[in-house]
Every structure is written in structure tokens, then in C-alpha cells.
Symmetry: C2
Subunit: 214 residues, 2 copies
């Protein structure tokens, strides 16, 4: 009997939730993850308890915020990963998609991966790591699935694929993080260098004069 009513309410609540998330997004991207609940509420034009009614606690809000962004990123990565092309091309395209994403919106990236870095010194910050770690884990698992599904690795392939999935994601993440901070080269060069690494150039390279190399 009250289904339509409840649906209306739910719709309204969902809209409100989205508005709140957008406001939170603005504040967090401006003030860094140290943004207070008060500030976020003010930006949204309301007060704290409403935020708590919608998201439970600060962790809930940040989780919802993180989910918005990570879902978008994962979608883009899946597309690059599923494109019809040679393996090397795909690897490069996936790397490039990730790097392009973090390059395009470094604020979002820093929010997701590097918690309190925009705040005042002494800012206690808030552990966003709890929400970024799952992102990397999900990326690792998804990549593992793709590898296991498409690459012939012989016996023990599933375990090997998972190790590689997480390892490659970690490589991409760390290199991207460093690159974003120092910008020592173009994106294309970085992509190429990483792909070369995955393609065994480290093993193939010769030693430098004297003694065995790394």
C-alpha cells in the first residue's frame, strides 16, 4: 500500500545523498582529507547530524566518496583490459588509462591514496588508507582474473596469476605515484618503460663493466 510512498521517499533520499556526496567531494578536493564534518555540512548547506543520518559516521561518508571514484576508474580499466588487441598493446593501454586518470585528477588521486597531505602540519588527518587499500586489492584481483583467463601459464596458473595481478598493480601504482610527484618524463615514456620491465628487459640486459649486475 505504501510502496509508492516509500519509493518516493527513497528517491528523494537518494537524490539528497548524491547532493551531499557532491558537496563532500568539493570540500575534500579543496581542503584535503582533513576536512571536518562541519565544513562538509556547511558546504552542503546543512548541519552535521544529517550527514550522520545518511552515512553513519565519517568512515561511511569517505567510503561512499571513495566508491564513486574507484568505480569509475575500475570501469575505465576494464574497458582497456577487454579491448581486442595484442597483449603488449593491451598492457600499455591499461597502464596508460590508469596513468591518464591519475594525471587528469591528481586531487582525486591524492584523496584516494594519500590521506592527509593537504592539511596543516599537525593535522591529525583521517585514515583514508582503509578505503584506498581495497581499491588496489580489487584492481589486483580483477587483473588476476583476466590473466588467468587469457594467458596460458601451465600448472599452478591460478596462484601465479594472482601474484602477478597484485604485483603488476603495485608496480603501476608505485611508479605512477612517483611519476605524479616528480614528473621526470612523459606519460608515454613511463608506459613504455614499465611495459619493457614486464617484458623482461631487466633479465635480458647485459652487465655493466665489472661484476655481476643486479
Amino acid at each position: 500500500m505504501d510502496t509508492t510512498q516509500r519509493t518516493d521517499q527513497q528517491k528523494s533520499a537518494d537524490r539528497r545523498r548524491r547532493e551531499l556526496l557532491e558537496a563532500a567531494d568539493r570540500v575534500v578536493l579543496r581542503d584535503g582529507p582533513g576536512a571536518s564534518m562541519n565544513a562538509i555540512a556547511a558546504e552542503a548547506g546543512i548541519t552535521k547530524p544529517i550527514l550522520y543520518r545518511h552515512f553513519g559516521d565519517k568512515g561511511g561518508l569517505y567510503a561512499a566518496l571513495a566508491k564513486r571514484h574507484t568505480d569509475a576508474l575500475l570501469e575505465a580499466l576494464r574497458a582497456a583490459l577487454d579491448a581486442p588487441a595484442e597483449r603488449r598493446e593491451r598492457v600499455e593501454s591499461t597502464l596508460d588509462t590508469y596513468l591518464a586518470a591519475i594525471e587528469a585528477r591528481p586531487q582525486v588521486y591524492r584523496f584516494l591514496m594519500h590521506p592527509a597531505e593537504g592539511g596543516q602540519p599537525g593535522d591529525p588527518g583521517f585514515d583514508i588508507g582503509k578505503y584506498s587499500a581495497p581499491v588496489l586489492r580489487r584492481m589486483g584481483e580483477e587483473l588476476a582474473e583476466v590473466i588467468e583467463e587469457r594467458v596460458d601459464l601451465g600448472p599452478g596458473s591460478q596462484q601465479l596469476a594472482r601474484v602477478w595481478g597484485h604485483g603488476i598493480v603495485g608496480m603501476m601504482h608505485a611508479a605512477g605515484d612517483w611519476w605524479l610527484g616528480e614528473r621526470p618524463c612523459s606519460r608515454a615514456e613511463l608506459v613504455r618503460s614499465l611495459a619493457d620491465l614486464l617484458w623482461g628487459r631487466l633479465a635480458a640486459a647485459g652487465d655493466r663493466l665489472g661484476g655481476p649486475g643486479f
Copy 2:
């Protein structure tokens, strides 16, 4: 004239500082990184302001704490990296050293890399990421130096070495983190899988039935 006196005082202060760090270590390893300054002071048998006199603020304390552990780890890694052996053996030995370290003291590892994960839900936590990121950066830079120094990479070798340094460290870190959480295989297997990845097995493997692989 007061050099000896100042030396005495300094020695005493240093000893005290070490005692405080050890107490802090105990508390942090027991209560997680959410440990309060009060708790740490209590464990050390003194009160807050003394901690602040020695370390400035909580960040200073945590930085000092992190430095203790990371210096030890970097020392061990350098040893593995500089050992006289074939390249593959060295890579495996370095990976194994890192993994053995995080396996032996997961509490320390979690403190360094995964801030608030041992605290109560709702614990605001404290951003230790500020101290763990530099660790990974340092590891990346040192590895880059070793690579650039010993491997012949042709033109652009310096940049390539840096990319690889950070990338490899990230791979090791992410894979180790995942492995430590799920323990899906033995340490030796993990080392072997990662080394295989670096040795280009991904590029060498054939496609699975139908379509180009990842």
C-alpha cells in the same frame, strides 16, 4: 668549558629518548597506531609534555619510530642487494629478505604501512602514510641506483632505472601486502613467481584458447 657537561646531558637525553621510543614501540605494537599520547606516556611511566619536549609532536614521535624500523629494513635490503651473486639470485634474495622481514614482524609492518587497522571502529586513526610513503620512495631510489650502476641499459638508462626501481619496489610491496593477508602460498613460491614476472614470463607465455591474451 662545559663541553663535557653538555655531552653528559646529551647522552642522558639520548638514553631517555631511546627508552621513550621503546615504550612507544610496545604500546603502538599492542594498541595499533591509534595509540594515544597519553597511553604512550603512561607506558613510559611519565606524562605527555615530556613526550612533546622530546619529539615535538605526534608526527615527530611516529617519524622517529618509523625511522628505527625502516633503517633496519633498508640495511638488510642493502646487504642482499650488494651480495656477490648472479642477477637472478640477487633479485630473489632481495625479495626474500623483504618478505621475510614483513613476515617476521607483521605488527611492525602493519604499523609502517597500514595505519589505523588495529583500532576500534570509529577510531579516527593517525596518518602514518606520511611516514610509510617515504620508506617506499627511499627503497625505490636506492634500488634505482643499484640498477643504474650495474645494469647496462643503453641510452636513457638513468630514467629507466628510476622507473624500474620504483616499479619493482611497488610490485614487491603490493604482492607482499596481499600475501601477508591471505597467505596463499609459501614465501619461496611467492619469490619465485615474482622473479618469474620480472624475468618476462608474462611476455613469453602463450595465449589461452581463443583470442589474444592479456
